[in-house]
């Protein structure tokens, strides 16, 4: 009871505080900006841009935001933001304290006030429409590609739109209210659920729920959309409005489940406000390298178990010795870059080149001992001074590897790492990494900026490099101490491993 009372009290205080405080435009605009960010990033990802991490997304969004801000400024200069400013003034008179943040360019200023918040919402909506339009266009192109034969009487207008020629209406196609429904909307307008009835038995088309029913001018065609998300239809024959509630549209079957038809009547255009047109384009962020997926080059050592494979032409002993100074068992120029070998004092074309200067008996072409740079043989060791007798002759053939090769266990562990519940150990690792991966061993840099008497004071607090080695040592000791303490902890709670 006491806890409930305290909780209610806290809630009341919190709510009072929220409603009492002045509304800063920035606070609400940031909310709007976060909502918009999702839309923008989603649009970018849909257009094929892949982001390496969250930071890349942030930077891409900021780049987009700056472009939006520039566009907004241009519109402002051209006087195209009059409506937005009108809204802004209207909201200001609503008693809200709007304070723009002048010091924040781009992110702050773009969404600095309600004006831009309204604009951001418009942009978000326009982007949503553009995405939907693009998806519809893709569906339409898919139908065009597949060249599905014309369905009886019904032609595809868009992927989700159908046109019905009037001659087919006379053949028995009918557009009727569902079960004679005639109910009213919240604001008192009557509406009906409309459906199209096919004259053919067992025709799935009769289950189409339709919207936007209208007569298309002189063409004597009825146009309607199937399964559209728009729930308000056009006026029809002055009988009132035809509304299609969402509940019926939810149940509408998707058109592409049927053998519908790629007869394009017209492609409706989504009307986007002129000033917003360029803004909704996905910006070219290629000029901002940090916004693109990061590709850090990583040094990779590729082990070559069998560099020659099964190809007999790769066997060194079958290659002719082209160098006049070449020795038996050594093949000149079988690998490596030309010109990198040949130390001073060595005869050209005989030693020093990768793959030629190694010891006989080793696999030729691998450049001597592993880890040894080509051409870094001991100086003074003349080619041809290696021990004779170890030379590989053509009769010997390739030697046996004498190594049992087990199948790679990674065949199983790779899918395990992403298949629940086997992925739990990997998930645990990811969780710890996500939780504390940011706490690296890098020395922190504190940077404070204070304003005093209209002057800025920068303070930078760094840990000197001098302490690095000491702290590395200290971390090691702490880790070992922690491990020992954990061992004692387990020892104690398990009572020395004895039976309970």
């Amino acid at each position: 009871m006491k806890k409930i009372f305290i909780s209610i009290l806290c809630f009341i205080v919190f709510v009072s505080f929220v409603f009492k405080m002045d509304y800063k435009a920035s606070a609400i605009s940031v909310v709007g900006s976060n909502a918009l960010k999702g839309v923008v990033i989603g649009a970018m990802e849909k257009s094929g841009i892949k982001f390496a991490n969250k930071e890349a997304k942030e930077k891409a969004y900021q780049a987009w935001n700056m472009k939006a801000y520039e566009k907004w400024k241009a519109d402002e200069a051209a006087g195209r933001n009059a409506d937005l400013w009108k809204d802004f003034e209207r909201i200001k008179t609503g008693g809200l304290n709007v304070s723009p943040i002048e010091s924040l360019p781009g992110y702050g200023k773009v969404l600095v006030d309600y004006t831009f918040f309204g604009m951001a919402a418009s942009i978000g909506g326009a982007i949503g429409m553009a995405i939907q339009n693009k998806q519809l266009e893709n569906e339409r192109l898919k139908y065009l590609d597949e060249k599905i034969p014309e369905y009886k009487g019904v032609s595809l207008n868009l992927s989700l739109g159908v046109s019905l020629a009037s001659e087919f209406v006379s053949d028995g196609w009918r557009v009727t209210p569902v079960n004679g429904s005639n109910v009213k909307t919240d604001d008192g307008k009557p509406f009906s659920l409309w459906t199209i009835l096919s004259p053919f038995d067992n025709d799935s088309a009769k289950h189409f729920y339709i919207t936007n029913l209208e007569v298309m001018g002189d063409l004597l065609k009825y146009s309607f959309n199937v399964g559209s998300r728009s729930w308000q239809g056009e006026a029809l024959n002055n009988d009132g409005y035809n509304y299609i509630p969402l509940s019926s549209i939810k149940n509408a079957d998707m058109l592409f489940a049927y053998e519908a038809v790629p007869k394009i009547e017209e492609v409706p255009q989504i009307k986007i406000p002129e000033p917003l047109k360029k803004v909704i384009e996905v910006p070219d962020i290629s000029e901002i390298p940090e916004a693109m997926p990061q590709k850090t080059p990583v040094e990779v050592i590729v082990p070559l178990d069998d560099p020659f494979g099964d190809n007999p032409h790769n066997n060194p002993y079958e290659l002719p010795a082209t160098s006049p100074g070449g020795e038996p068992g050594k093949e000149p120029g079988t690998g490596g870059e030309p010109g990198t070998g040949g130390e001073p004092g060595k005869e050209p074309g005989t030693g020093g080149e990768p793959g030629t200067g190694g010891e006989p008996g080793k696999e030729p072409g691998t450049g001597g001992e592993p880890g040894k740079e080509p051409g870094t043989e001991e100086p003074g060791k003349e080619p041809g001074t290696e021990e004779p007798g170890k030379e590989e002759t053509p009769e010997d053939g390739p030697t046996c590897s004498k190594k049992v090769e087990f199948p790679k266990f990674s065949i199983i562990t790779d899918p395990m790492s992403d298949s629940f519940p086997f992925s739990l150990p990997w998930d645990l690792y990811d969780i710890i990494e996500a939780m504390f991966g940011d706490m690296t061993n890098e020395a922190p840099n504190f940077h404070y900026v204070f304003k005093f008497n209209d002057k800025k004071y920068d303070f930078k607090l760094d840990i000197p490099d001098y302490f690095d080695s000491y702290f590395t040592f200290a971390r090691g000791i702490i880790l070992i101490g922690f491990d020992i303490s954990v061992m004692f902890f387990f020892y104690r709670i398990s009572k020395g491993g004895a039976d309970e």
Partner: protein, 93 residues
């Protein structure tokens, strides 16, 4: 010695043939079965700790400590599992 080498070589090749063929085939089947399972439901975003978090990370190896703790916890869990299995088959009391 040459004969022994040849025999050893043939033996190794035979074993390799079995492991590469049958073993890989078996592994592929198991991998296929595992891939039927749903993918991991966790979608984690790294937590940003800021400069103070870095300071803590600079002083204490938190991440490594937790890895070690989780690893030891895994071994203890394994120990108890084995203990219970042995008790179940009545090898120990």
């Amino acid at each position: 010695m040459a004969v022994l080498d040849t025999i050893l070589c043939a033996l190794i090749k035979f074993v390799n043939m079995i492991t590469e063929g049958l073993g890989t085939w078996l592994f592929e089947i198991i991998a296929w079965l595992i891939e039927l399972l749903p993918s991991s439901p966790f979608d984690l975003e790294p937590v940003k700790w800021g400069e103070f978090g870095r300071l803590v990370g600079y002083l204490l190896p938190i991440s490594k400590m937790l890895f070690h703790f989780a690893l030891m916890l895994g071994f203890v869990a394994m120990w108890y599992t084995v203990q219970h299995i042995l008790r179940f088959v009545k090898m120990i009391k």
